[in-house]
């Protein structure tokens, strides 16, 4: 539904987006991750036609954003960063304007408007001027604006930024409920959000894509994926050397009586460890296999220092 082909953006001498290509299909929720200034918003602005790519292009449902910008934009719902809205209008007035701009008038307009209002939980504030709303409500007004015409492609720049935990939950549920029929791209700094709603993750650093995969597959890249975490009783001797002898074990970390065994690759380490423990009649107080950690993968991929830094 959405294909980006080698998008590049230069601001004077800053190369903000470097050769970014990806695809998003219907039913996918693509999480766009990256540190501040990585180029997430710039990429979204190119897709939505607010900025012209320095080179490269994209297709929205088959319509080229450069050759057929209007056709492409008709199929996009866009929530810009910081949720800009016309402050002096009422919520209803603003959404009516958007409906009209989307070519939805009369009955069709009213139906779409009602649906968007319901999904964004705005019933209570329809006649309130937008500048009297709290930040979370403004965000939802802008979200309502984005979904009003029921677009096949949704582009959301930090949709849950500034929302309270309940509202974050509401917005995530809303995204999930729409996911089946749309292709959705959202940027975020909240990694739990990615695990909660995204079917795929793109990580961008300094303008370049550094990762593209499912949250699970990315977590597998983590040093923590399939690591073994054990705690032994006080009187147990030093077992570091013993664990280091395991074929799958890359590294052992010891904190008093707690041992962390990191594998070369997630897989056989837990079985090997249990076999070793029973062979030596050792019984740990606690034994667990850890999952991969997205934050660690993120840090590793997006910081030059991250590649060598130790886990926390």
């Amino acid at each position: 539904m959405l294909e980006a082909h080698s998008l590049n953006k230069w601001f004077d001498r800053i190369h903000a987006v470097k050769d970014v290509s990806f695809r998003v299909e219907q039913g996918e929720v693509l999480g766009f991750l990256g540190p501040n200034g990585a180029g997430k918003s710039t990429t979204m602005r190119m897709l939505t036609g607010f900025l012209t790519p320095s080179s490269g292009t994209a297709r929205i449902c088959g319509h080229d954003i450069l050759a057929a910008p209007i056709e492409a934009r008709k199929r996009i719902g866009y929530l810009p960063e910081n949720a800009p809205v016309y402050d002096d209008m009422t919520v209803l007035g603003f959404l009516r304007f958007i409906a009209e701009a989307r070519g939805l008038s009369g009955v069709a307009g009213t139906t779409h408007l009602r649906k968007a209002v319901e999904l964004s939980h705005l019933d209570g504030v329809l006649n309130q001027p937008i500048d009297t709303l709290s930040k979370g409500f403004r965000q939802r007004v802008c979200l309502a604006q984005a979904i009003l015409h029921d677009p096949p492609v949704l582009i959301l720049d930090e949709p849950t930024d500034g929302l309270d935990p309940n509202q974050k939950h509401v917005v995530r549920t809303m995204i999930q409920s729409m996911a089946a029929t749309k292709a959705i791209i959202l940027s975020t700094h909240i990694l739990e959000e990615v695990e909660a709603v995204c079917t795929r993750v793109l990580i961008i650093a300094n303008g370049s894509l550094v990762a593209n995969g499912t949250p699970a597959s990315l977590k597998q890249q983590s040093e923590w994926a399939g690591a073994v975490d054990m705690t032994f009783p006080e009187n147990t001797g030093d077992l570091t050397a013993l664990f280091k002898g395991l074929a799958s074990c890359k590294r052992v970390e010891k904190q008093t009586q707690r041992y962390l065994l990191f594998p070369h690759a997630p897989g056989r380490l837990p079985q090997e460890t249990t076999a070793l423990l029973s062979a030596h009649h050792l019984s740990p107080l606690a034994f667990s296999v850890t999952e991969g950690r997205l934050d660690e993968v993120f840090r590793t991929l997006t910081t030059p220092a991250g590649k060598t830094s130790k886990t926390p």
Binding site: L51, T52, I70, P80, Y86, P129
Partner: protein, 249 residues
């Protein structure tokens, strides 16, 4: 999933409504009306002459516009940029040209409303026993509206140059002063003493005043309106270029 039946109309309606959603619009209208009235009646002493000559009334319009029009235009694009709504507006399914025209026409219509309110001035002339020439009134009003449009187009362009409304206001006033004064007889007379006649002719050809003056003489000359129209087209094209360049900058 159609585009708006008429994107220009959609933008126009929103923009014009936004003027009246804020109390400043009403303050503007009142100040405009009072200022024109004051200058016409008190400074030009129109009523004392018991005259039916609308010339003193129209004489003041360019000078009121000089402040009033930039005050209306300064927010047109600067405000959209400052609040970020520009990103919303320019990603809706219509072209940049449609957005520019819609916003411009809304501001022009607002000026038209202000101008319409000054009809009370010729009306009071009639009430005071005068018989103003209807032809001169008509051409005067059309000329005044055309002049307002040309000045507005200048302000539209300057409002794209900065996020700061004050900057856009000052730039618009400066450009407008130049284009108004360049052909004003006292100035052209003064210029004629120091500059060769050809230079004076060229400078005054760019001026608004000769075109406005000919409207005030009751001559409805298409060339004067073509001039205002070409200033508008030129400045709106410049607006388009600035906004388009910023997209690909």
């Amino acid at each position: 999933m159609d585009t708006a039946a008429c994107p220009v109309k959609t933008v126009f309606k929103r923009e014009l409504r936004s003027y009246f959603d804020s109390p400043i619009a009403y303050v503007f209208l009142v100040v405009f009306l009072m200022l024109t009235g004051f200058l016409t009646f008190s400074v030009s002493r129109l009523y004392e002459k018991g005259s039916a000559d609308p010339w003193p009334f129209f004489f003041w319009h360019p000078w009121v516009y000089l402040i009033f029009v930039p005050a209306v235009s300064m927010r047109l694009w600067a405000e959209e940029r400052r609040t970020g709504t520009l990103e919303l507006l320019l990603t809706l399914p219509f072209t940049l040209t449609q957005a520019i025209i819609g916003k411009f026409l809304a501001a022009w219509a607002f000026l038209g409303i202000a101008l319409g309110l000054t009809l009370t001035v010729p009306l009071s002339m009639v009430l005071l026993g005068g018989h103003p020439d209807a032809g001169v009134l008509l051409s005067g009003y059309l000329g005044s509206f055309g002049l307002a449009g040309a000045l507005l187009a200048i302000g539209t362009w300057t409002s794209t140059l900065s996020r700061n409304q004050v900057v856009s206001f000052v730039l618009a006033v400066m450009l407008s002063v130049f284009l108004l004064l360049a052909g004003w007889p006292p100035i052209t007379d003064l210029l004629a003493r120091v500059a060769p006649p050809l230079a004076v002719r060229i400078i005054s050809a760019f001026s608004f005043m000769p075109h406005y003056d000919s409207c005030l003489r009751g001559v409805l000359d298409l060339r004067d309106f073509a001039y205002f129209a070409s200033v508008i087209v030129f400045m709106l094209t410049a607006t388009h270029i600035v906004l388009e360049n910023r997209k690909s900058a």
